[in-house]
Symmetry: C2
Subunit: 408 residues, 2 copies
């Protein structure tokens, strides 16, 4: 079992008693928080497959059987886009990327990128995983057609898709690809704890049981997620926070920001609703976005993710650094840590609504907990905004046009 | 000389006669465009060093002397953050990344990342470039202290900094590092065409003269940049576009979006002004952000960058793909191309203000032109908003706090 709590959710910096006029009063926040109660109860009572995932183990042997074969290769290319890629990418950031097989996530159809890919990899030592829930995603099929031709067959290929007749299942059967089921009840952007994330994680040697245990921890106590949803909606409604910035101080959480960005945008962006998710990374974006965050319009809420890393990383040699006293003899993590805390303090002094996720570690269970936190927070935010968290109707029109243009 | 025009700037999709109520009337746009005229004239008459860069060649021999030494190594690590990193990263995306030396841009002080870096690279075959305009950037100095210790001296090290006494120049002299001047008159986020971008580009074998020639082309005819500035401000003022999305359909322009994001945010985000720059990538973000863009709030303007790539990339085998008729026998670039055009059409049908950069090629001169376009557009936007495009006063407070926390 993971520790009971892998992160602390600190919300003081969103309230007027901490930050003055930029913050919420309790009267603005409490009614929204109260609204999440029945929504959460309904969610728990529902048969939503997402909520069953943390306790599932029955799907792991089939995934492990495929993963074990892939672990004997040098490289594994993962084809798929959106929810078929970002969960895996996010988890792979926890792995040792120098270890074979190396995983390569390809979520675009850039012709130049694929020219380079085909020249670089050795088909005899490369596995390919094609992930498409519907089995009909144009980009993923185009990628797969190209790689099947390049490899001369599907013997080191896996398809992950719903168990039904589709272009992808027919292709898989015709070319001898392994097949793994994508749960029809788990939408792409909510699928990281299922096969789409677990298969890459398992290939990379991560502990996927701990991942699910971390998620279970949040399911057992989703109070922070409920508070986060109420904060997002209250800050939007009462303080004009039309944008929400997620800024981890940790390179390994940079992809997490991209995963969150899809989750939030596709779940909430409908009927004219939805705040814009913004992915930032500390300390990098102190030198890019912080000027705007501190002195630009008051239209954002900030979620910083701080990892306790003051005693990590290489030591800054005291004699080399002697004229920079505040660095001399410190570890590199001390600078990262101090900068994260300084950014929080500066945002708060500038009356910008800011909450902090304090991570006491970064491992599979902490990642599972963070993922489940943000999924529940997003679902509850959708409930408060009155939109359906699980559909994405607007993107269909472009798909139809693409086919028209290609046919013409 | 590059072709006279490396891109076309198509703005119809921002106007009411194309997109209805979401778009501008000419009466909303023309007065702002007129205001850019005198600003542009004043800019041209100014002694702004940025505007001299495209014609400069005198700085190249010193840069090439350093670059030639670096080209004999296996790896080159570039230390620096913000404007000391993003320009180089953006240009390096044009290079062949499989060719030695491979460039590694490190713009963060994540202790875990540096632990991995030190284990992975061989100090005897690795060059290090430390870029800090002021010579006092805490992150860059911390990185440099660690790498100097690791390498056992500065013989394969280069410092790029203003020619004045500073921690970095003193370190460089004490440890035998090569020194290259950072022009004191060119701010970090405007420095990509100077040594900060040109040195990495030159090491990677790119044509830096073509880069500057492309920039000169835009300086000679900055009409599109003026129109872009007027559009951004008119859409903000009259249509509530508080966010500006830059979405290239091209992996090699993904970093360009990060470079733009700093340029725009730090130049405009002050005195409560500034719209939020958002970096997206096509087709990837069709599966992440497009739902929000099409059906969320009408608070964004969109700039798509489409590259004519329909005849590029691997062929999608017609017999493999026979049941997906619209892909069979096409090249992968045809899908990328069709999706870009479909997204533009769909945004416009949904009344979202959208302009298009149509690139007829992507090479050094096109990149130089795009960079100069966005720099001029940003400077003119700052003028229209009444803010100083060249300072970033708000970030100082956090730096002071960081030192306090580290001292404590």
């Amino acid at each position: 079992m993971p520790n009971a709590v892998s992160f602390e959710h600190v919300t003081d910096g969103c309230f007027a008693d901490s930050i003055g006029a930029g913050g919420l009063t309790r009267a603005e926040f409490e009614p929204l928080l109260a609204e999440t109660g029945p929504a959460l109860a309904a969610l728990r009572a529902s048969e939503l497959p997402l909520l069953k995932l943390p306790a599932r183990r029955d799907d792991l042997p089939a995934i492990e059987a495929v993963a074990a074969r892939m672990r004997g290769l040098d490289e594994v290319v993962i084809l798929g886009t959106g929810g078929s890629s970002l969960g895996g990418q996010t988890l792979y950031a926890l792995a040792d990327a120098s270890k074979k097989p190396r995983l390569h996530f390809h979520d675009n159809v850039d012709p130049h990128t694929f020219d380079v890919l085909l020249k670089t990899l050795n088909p005899a030592r490369t596995g390919v995983i094609a992930i498409s829930k519907s089995g009909t995603t144009a980009e993923t099929l185009a990628q797969l057609f190209v790689l099947l031709k390049w490899a001369g067959g599907g013997q080191r290929f896996v398809a992950v898709t719903e168990p039904k007749d589709s272009t992808l299942t027919r292709l898989a059967k015709a070319h001898g690809m392994a097949l793994l089921d994508h749960d029809p009840g788990v939408g792409g952007r909510y699928s990281a704890l299922s096969v789409t994330g677990v298969l890459p994680a398992q290939i990379a040697g991560l502990d996927v049981v701990a991942l699910r245990e971390g998620a279970a921890e949040v399911l057992a106590d989703p109070a922070a997620a409920a508070a986060g949803a109420a904060l997002a909606v209250a800050l939007w409604r009462h303080k004009g926070a039309t944008q929400t910035v997620l800024m981890p101080y940790c390179d390994r959480l940079a992809t997490f920001g991209l995963w969150f960005r899809q989750l939030w945008a596709e779940s909430l962006g409908k009927n004219g609703a939805g705040t814009t998710p913004i992915r930032a990374v500390g300390t990098v974006d102190q030198h890019s976005q912080l000027q705007l965050y501190l002195a630009g319009p008051r239209d954002k809420m900030y979620s910083l993710m701080l990892f306790d890393c003051a005693n990590e990383g290489p030591v800054i040699d005291a004699s080399l650094a002697k004229e920079v006293g505040y660095l001399a003899g410190k570890r590199m993590g001390a600078l990262m840590d101090a900068e994260g805390r300084a950014t929080v303090a500066t945002l708060i002094r500038n009356h910008r609504p800011t909450r902090v996720f304090r991570l006491n570690r970064l491992d599979e269970s902490a990642m599972g907990a963070l993922m489940m936190h943000f999924m529940i927070e997003t679902i509850l935010t959708a409930h408060l905004l009155g939109v359906d968290a699980f559909d994405q109707p607007a993107v269909e029109e472009g798909k139809v046009l693409t086919r028209e243009y290609l046919g013409a």
